[in-house]
């Protein structure tokens, strides 16, 4: 589904991503982990078109997407979320969510201005869908509230709902549970599983290793812009390189018995 070949990104003298190659198969939940500054978010920015790669190719659904603009990549079905809450702050919950349906609308600008029957029914349909999603998020009573007045967890979840509204075939989640409490986190994990069940491939960047190990089918570990390991969560968690990257090097205990978590 997604293939990354020898991807490199340099910012001046700093090589944030160095010769990174990996593949993501359809229908999987893939985690991208690594210590702070490993280059995970840069990879996401490259995949979604916010940065242009210095070298290498990104192939999505057999088409080269590296170098395309973010909106083009999104229209091909690869949609991302953001690490920090990224919404229209003055907008309401519903207006934010409805914006997510942009790619699904078929009515032209003029049709929506003169409100033809077709445009009207399309909008009604999307409105109902949006209310349904807000209901699932238990936000239906606050649909008309400005998003800045919602709790952080809701704002974050709304960000994911907007991305899903764009009907992606693959979604990139940048730290979907950052700053959330346990209940909110559990509901996001549920949402991720549900997303995969609808046939959407998921790739996520995460700091919370417990979550990554519990949710992901495959894990890619990065450090200093390199891929240091890849495999199932069990394989990765036993990898010495990974343990070193996360826990540091322990001279007295070289038997490799250190198991995190």
């Amino acid at each position: 589904m997604l293939e990354v070949r020898k991807l490199t990104k340099r910012f001046g003298g700093l090589t944030a991503v160095n010769n990174l190659s990996f593949e993501v198969e359809r229908g999987l939940i893939v985690g991208l982990i690594g210590p702070n500054g490993a280059g995970k978010t840069t990879v996401f920015n490259l995949l979604s078109g916010y940065h242009k790669p210095s070298e290498g190719d990104i192939i999505f659904n057999k088409k080269k997407i590296s170098g395309m603009k973010p909106n083009k990549i999104a229209s091909r079905g690869l949609v991302r979320t953001f690490q920090l809450v990224n919404l229209v702050k003055n907008g309401t919950a519903i207006s934010n969510l409805l914006a997510g349906y942009h790619l699904q609308r078929r009515a032209g600008i003029l049709a929506t201005i003169v409100k033809t029957n077709k445009a009207r029914s399309e909008e009604q349909e999307l409105w109902d869908k949006a209310i349904e999603i807000l209901k699932e998020m238990k936000l239906d009573k606050r649909w008309n509230q400005s998003v800045s007045s919602l709790p952080h967890g809701n704002q974050k979840a709304l960000g994911m709902a907007i991305a899903l509204a764009a009907k992606p075939t693959m979604i990139l989640l940048d730290e979907p549970t950052a700053g959330m409490n346990a209940t909110e986190r559990a509901s996001v994990i549920k949402a991720i599983h549900r997303t995969r069940e609808t046939g959407v491939t998921v790739m996520l960047v995460e700091h919370d290793l417990k979550m990554v190990m519990g949710v992901c089918d495959r894990v890619i570990v990065m450090n200093f812009g390199h891929k240091i390991s890849e495999g199932t969560p069990e394989e990765v968690s036993k990898n010495e390189e990974v343990i070193k990257a996360y826990l540091g090097y322990d001279e007295t205990n070289r038997s490799g018995k250190t198991v995190y978590n």
Binding site: V79, V88, L98, A99, H102, I109, I113, I162
Partner: protein, 328 residues
């Protein structure tokens, strides 16, 4: 009948009464000076509405005088040099304006915020200086522009004729812009203006939207320019200075950005205020500036927020009164 339907009927009725009022007012008040003011308000409202549309796409465009000038100069030149009449010149001017706006839009598509505002000011200055420095365009000299030719048997040489033309245009433009704002496209524009990163992540082609909106705004402004030229009859580069752009921007800021009534009310305010102020021009300017500053100081969200402000003020007083009485 539900509440929404009642509200809609009430609102339609208010619009209907308002329209009847605007249609009949020049026939009731038969002063040429009054008609002149109405026309100037209409022109200012058209310019304000188009500038607001562009700003709502996230681009702080501050050079509306440029497109206003392109419309006015396009008309006189097509009349003088080509011999076209008003109605055949307008589509040609539309094409020219659209082409210029397209070029400007794509050239500045990566610039946003304050740099974009500065570029738009520079663009307006380039247009003005080109007019002044090019003998073909008339330089400092003024052009004489005849009124529009009659259409469908309606003569437009009188003030009342022009007034009705502008009124019709204001209603159409206001209606369409309002509908656009409330449509999904309007939501996309708001998303783009407030959070471009998010807009792109959900597939909104921000460059294309920006360019299209700039083109639409430019078209309305240049159409307004042709009406201005044919109404005033004499145009020169002084009518399209930086100050003109600033006043257009002022109509929106004073009127309020929240909805389409902002530029309309702002246009009336900005046009009428200098007329009712007494004294010499210099004193007038000082008083004008003071009133504008005070208005912005008290009504940050513009004149359209006045009812809301008054309501909270009186409700606040009503809420405080019983407490203070019982306290004694």
């Amino acid at each position: 009948m539900n509440e929404v339907a009642v509200k809609t009927i009430k609102r339609s009725f208010a619009y209907f009464i308002g329209l009847i009022f605007l249609l009949s007012i020049p026939l009731i008040v038969k002063s040429a000076y009054f008609h002149h003011l109405l026309i100037m308000i209409g022109l200012a409202a058209l310019l304000g509405m188009s500038n607001r549309l562009i700003i709502n796409s996230g681009a702080w465009f501050m050079g509306m005088a440029a497109f206003y000038a392109i419309g006015a100069y396009g008309l006189v030149l097509l009349r003088e040099k080509v011999g076209m009449d008003y109605w055949s010149a307008v589509p040609v001017i539309g094409l020219i304006t659209a082409a210029i706006a397209l070029g400007l839009g794509y050239a500045t598509s990566r610039v946003r915020g304050i740099p974009f505002a500065i570029i738009s000011v520079a663009f307006a200055e380039v247009i003005r200086l080109t007019i002044i420095k090019t003998p073909f365009l008339g330089g400092h000299k003024a052009w004489v522009c005849p009124p529009p030719e009659p259409i469908f048997g309606i003569t437009l040489s009188s003030k009342i004729g022009i007034y009705y033309l502008i009124l019709v245009l204001c209603v159409i433009v206001g209606f369409l812009f309002h509908r656009l704002e409330k449509s999904p496209t309007g939501n996309a524009l708001m998303t783009m203006a407030e959070n471009e990163e998010l807009a792109e992540s959900i597939g909104i082609n921000t460059t294309r939207y920006k360019v299209v909106v700039l083109m639409v705004g430019a078209l309305v402004a240049s159409l307004t320019g042709t009406l201005f030229a044919s109404y005033i009859g004499i145009i020169g580069p002084t009518s399209f200075s930086l100050m003109t752009s600033v006043i257009i921007l002022m109509t929106i800021v004073i009127g309020g950005m929240a909805n389409i009534w902002g530029p309309i009310i702002g246009a009336a305010f900005v046009t009428l205020l200098p007329e009712i102020l007494p004294g010499q021009a210099a004193d007038q300017n000082i008083a004008y500036a003071t009133i504008v500053l005070l208005t912005l100081f008290w009504l940050r969200e513009g004149l359209i927020s006045l009812p809301k402000q008054l309501k909270t003020y009186f409700e606040g007083r009503a809420a405080h009164k019983p407490a203070s009485i019982s306290g004694r």
